[in-house]
């Protein structure tokens, strides 16, 4: 049974200015131990997808359709108590800003023990030891000392490592990481990715890594899902998506990265801007920026599967290769 099955997810925000269809058609499946990269730019809906899975979407937003099944159990419409049982326990989240997880006025050990005791009745001492081991596993030296510290006494990278440790405290089966390294330096980012990879491998947890950085998921993920304007436009195994992209947006994105272009030459740029979410164009949201668009694109394409494990939402994808 898959750890996570998302089908037809739609999360809309009902604002004064209009309805923002932040997530409007997301489908994917995640197996045990798999790492999936959810890639998109600002406004693509990737963060809202993550929040929807955890039931953290606040008004004026709400999930308006689709299903999210965790090990077969439907999460959409589930009662709050059930979601609270799962959060921080079976399904954990790592945020971009560690201060969204950490309470600045409490010591680290207090917070970690609290996170453990909320889901399990064990003694404070046992919880403390688990917390200490957790910190050691994410590569924090002298964990006993760190436990007694307050968040502001730690560096940014250290704090993010603590939040990863907290996420893994109760042995979750699913981790959702929302741009956890975007604000960190390159060398610290490498450390964080290393620790997250390691713990995931050791515990067999599945992970969704939400980011805009294709290079990070190239090194980290088994599968990639590319989002644009609230919809998944392409999905598939990492190597496939990066080496043989099908959707014109993915092709454009990969082509505009400096490393894909000859040094000193103009970069291949995608013309235009990301669409205004309050006034999406009719049909395919990428239509107005796409060199391959036709009248057929005035209708929003459905997801098709040109090959096993490969998904594409486009009427005019680039050449499809069927793997031998």
């Amino acid at each position: 049974m898959s750890v996570l099955e998302v089908a037809g997810l739609r999360t809309h925000f009902f604002t004064r200015a209009g309805v923002v269809k932040a997530v409007d058609g997301v489908d994917f499946t995640l197996e045990r131990g798999q790492v999936m990269g959810l890639v998109g730019e600002s406004g693509s809906g990737k963060t809202v997808t993550g929040f929807s899975i955890l039931g953290l979407v606040d008004p004026p937003g709400r999930i308006v359709g689709g299903s999210i099944r965790y090990r077969g159990e439907e999460l959409v419409g589930a009662p709050d108590e059930r979601l609270r049982e799962l959060r921080g326990n079976r399904i954990a989240m790592i945020f971009q800003d560690p201060m969204m997880t950490l309470n600045p006025v409490l010591r680290i050990d207090t917070q970690m023990v609290e996170a453990i005791q909320a889901h399990e009745s064990i003694s404070k001492k046992a919880a403390w030891e688990r917390a200490r081991d957790g910190l050691g596993q994410v590569g924090i030296p002298s964990p006993e000392e760190r436990l007694r510290a307050y968040p502001h006494q730690l560096s940014g990278g250290m704090r993010q490592r603590v939040t990863i440790a907290i996420a893994f405290l109760n042995n979750p089966e699913l981790i959702i990481a929302d741009e956890p390294t975007t604000a960190l330096d390159v060398t610290i980012q490498a450390q964080i990715i290393y620790e997250a990879q390691k713990v995931c491998r050791e515990r067999g947890a599945a992970m969704i890594w939400i980011t805009h950085d294709l290079a990070v998921v190239a090194g980290l993920a088994d599968r990639i899902c590319v989002m644009y304007a609230g919809r998944i436009v392409e999905a598939g195994p990492t190597d496939d998506v990066i080496d043989r992209p099908l959707h014109p947006y993915t092709v454009g994105l990969l082509g505009s990265v400096p490393s894909a272009n000859k040094r000193g030459q103009r970069l291949n740029q995608i013309p235009g801007m990301t669409p205004n979410m309050l006034a999406l164009p009719k049909g395919c949201a990428f239509r107005e920026r796409c060199s391959r668009a036709s009248d057929a694109c005035l209708v929003n394409p459905d997801i098709t599967e040109p090959a096993a494990g490969r998904a594409i939402r486009c009427f005019h994808p680039h050449g499809i290769e069927v793997p031998a």
């Binding site: 740029q269 013309p271 235009g272 801007m273 669409p275 205004n276 309050l278 006034a279 164009p281 107005e288 920026r289």
Partner: protein, 305 residues
């Protein structure tokens, strides 16, 4: 590829409202504030039109007759008009006196507020932009001033300067400028650290231009809020001074003077002489404060999406 690479053809614009339109619609979201604004507007209009809508000019001693004094609400005066709110000890029709008194109270409050705002803002801006010693000295002065109750400062100044409308305004300005200075200095400090100010320096623009054309317009939000609340405060302060007998003169009574005059009658059953001016003062101050509250909520950038 289009020439203007950022404009996708036919794409709708990012925003369709001007900042002022959005501010206006957000302000009126609160029913209480809308009501308060309406009430305040009504009070101001009534005060402005006072000479034309009152049966009597309470400052014109020829029209005031002590025989009309202390009459309860609804009585008919010697000259034939109805005193809907009664009359005070000297024979002034309270309805007329209140409206004329509002004129004075509001104009004193607004005038002192505006002058204090101008002086305090400039001082706060200079302190924030100059930094260093200048800022330290100025802000310690501000702290010193703020550690005294405003009423005390005003009392001391009035004792020295004497009575009269211009002296009251000076005293109120002296009691208030520090609030503006502190608010603007805080705001200006934040703005000075922003990159558009660095850019202005990079572009070789002069200090005065940067302070008044770049920083000040971005400090207006908290300034407007403080201004509203302080105006209410100034009106109350003037009423306090007048009530204590050191404010405006008897011949041109503000609301405070009217309340003071009627105080001696409170226990003898002629409540209306203090009561109605008191209500008028209360309504004015409360409506200003409610408007100020909503302004603070609407203009607070942190509460924005």
């Amino acid at each position: 590829m289009s020439v203007h690479a950022d404009r996708a053809p036919g794409a709708p614009e990012i925003r369709v409202e001007t900042p002022f339109q959005r501010f206006r619609s957000e302000f009126f979201e609160s029913r209480i504030a809308t009501f308060a604004l309406g009430l305040l507007a009504l009070i101001i209009v009534l005060a402005l039109l006072a000479p034309w809508i009152t049966p009597q000019n309470p400052y014109d001693l020829a029209q005031v007759d002590v025989l009309d004094g202390k009459l309860p609400p609804g009585s008919v005066a010697y000259t034939g008009y109805t005193m809907w709110l009664g009359s005070d000890g000297a024979g002034r029709d309270l309805y007329s006196a209140i409206l004329y008194g509002l004129r004075i109270s509001i104009s004193v409050g607004v005038a002192s507020g505006v002058i204090a705002m101008a002086i305090g803002s400039t001082i706060g801006l200079i302190a924030a932009y100059a930094g260093g010693r200048v800022e330290t000295v100025v802000m310690r002065l501000v702290d010193l001033q703020l550690s005294f109750p405003a009423a005390l400062i005003a009392l001391m100044l009035v004792a020295v300067l004497g009575r009269g409308i211009d002296k009251i305004i000076i005293a109120l300005v002296a009691a208030q400028w520090a609030y503006y200075a502190r608010t603007v200095r805080g705001s200006a400090l934040v703005e000075s650290a922003k990159e558009y100010v660095e850019a202005a320096r990079c572009l070789g623009l002069g200090h005065a231009r940067i302070v008044f054309r770049h920083i000040l317009p971005n400090c207006l939000s908290p300034l407007i809020v403080v201004g509203t609340v302080q105006t209410a405060h100034a009106i109350a302060l003037e009423a306090t001074l007048s009530f204590l007998g050191v404010g405006l003169r008897q011949t041109e009574p503000s609301l405070g003077v009217l309340i003071a005059n009627g105080f001696e009658y409170m226990m003898s059953g002629r409540y209306w002489i203090s009561f109605f001016p008191g209500i008028a003062l209360l309504l004015t101050i409360v409506s200003i404060n409610l408007v100020g509250d909503q302004l603070r909520d609407v203009l607070n950038p942190r509460l924005k999406k």
